[in-house]
């Protein structure tokens, strides 16, 4: 992306250079008018905002993975072939408290559910490992 500074190419003119960088800033959401006629320093804010946006997106993807992992963990009792009465742990009642504001208020049921699901998952993995020598 523009502003890297590591890959400064030799440009025949500043026009060529601006045209080269403009595409990157378009991706970041900058308009033509902002880039060419606005405050030249605005690109710094766009770079910073874009970096934050990427970090947030990364966090969202990670969180989604965590929910999927959690959901699968809660279903693992069903995956145990010899379980007599498999009991599925219900899905979380509330989303994870990512802001940390509700610390300590996580429902005991949910917490217990997560623990139980993880125990099942561990048990299943041990069973598979024992059976297939993993």
């Amino acid at each position: 992306m523009g502003g890297g500074g590591d890959n400064i190419k030799a440009f025949a003119s500043y026009r060529d250079m601006f045209e080269e960088y403009f595409a990157d800033y378009l991706v970041m959401g900058m308009t033509y008018d902002e880039f060419y006629n606005g405050d030249p320093n605005l690109v710094r804010a766009y770079r910073k905002a874009f970096k934050t946006k990427l970090e947030n997106r990364n966090m969202e993807m990670w969180l989604q993975g965590a929910y999927i992992y959690d959901a699968i963990s809660r279903l693992t009792p069903l995956m145990q072939p010899f379980a007599k009465k498999p009991k599925v742990v219900p899905y979380l009642k509330e989303p994870y408290d990512i802001s940390g504001e509700k610390e300590g208020t996580e429902s005991k049921k949910d917490k217990a559910g997560t623990e139980a699901a993880l125990d099942h998952m561990r048990g299943l993995m041990t069973l598979i490992n024992n059976r297939f020598g993993g």
Binding site: G2, G3, G4, G5, D6, I8, S13, Y14, R15, M17, F18, Y21, F35, Y36, N37, G38, D39, P40, N41, L42, V43, R44, R47
Partner: protein, 106 residues
């Protein structure tokens, strides 16, 4: 950063946008020729610096201001304004944070 002054009761703000950098370049200004052609460079740079906020002024009017303005350090100041429109694109924040800081003593 901008260069501000008053002339004949009018306040002028000189600065560059990336668009006016390109226009100044089109007028024939070349940063590499500042040392070899300082007078031409000053004239072109001065004319270009008016484009962002005083586009309606004629070349004759701008040149009249240039004739009457104090030229001490003007070329350096205008060069800095010009580079201010380019620098934010090529800087590397991480590198800038760790770069060796220096000062000029006179």
């Amino acid at each position: 950063m901008a260069l501000i002054f008053t002339y004949k009761d009018n306040e002028y703000t000189l600065e560059f946008t990336r668009n006016t950098v390109m226009e100044t370049e089109r007028m024939g200004f070349d940063m590499d020729k500042i040392d070899s052609a300082p007078v031409t460079s000053l004239t072109l740079l001065f004319r270009g610096a008016f484009l962002a906020h005083h586009r309606t002024l004629t070349i004759a009017e701008v040149d009249d201001i240039l004739t009457n303005i104090d030229k001490e350090g003007l070329l350096t100041a205008l060069g800095k304004l010009y580079m201010d429109a380019i620098k934010p694109l090529i800087e590397n924040e991480e590198h800038s944070k760790n770069a060796i800081k220096w000062t000029v003593k006179t």
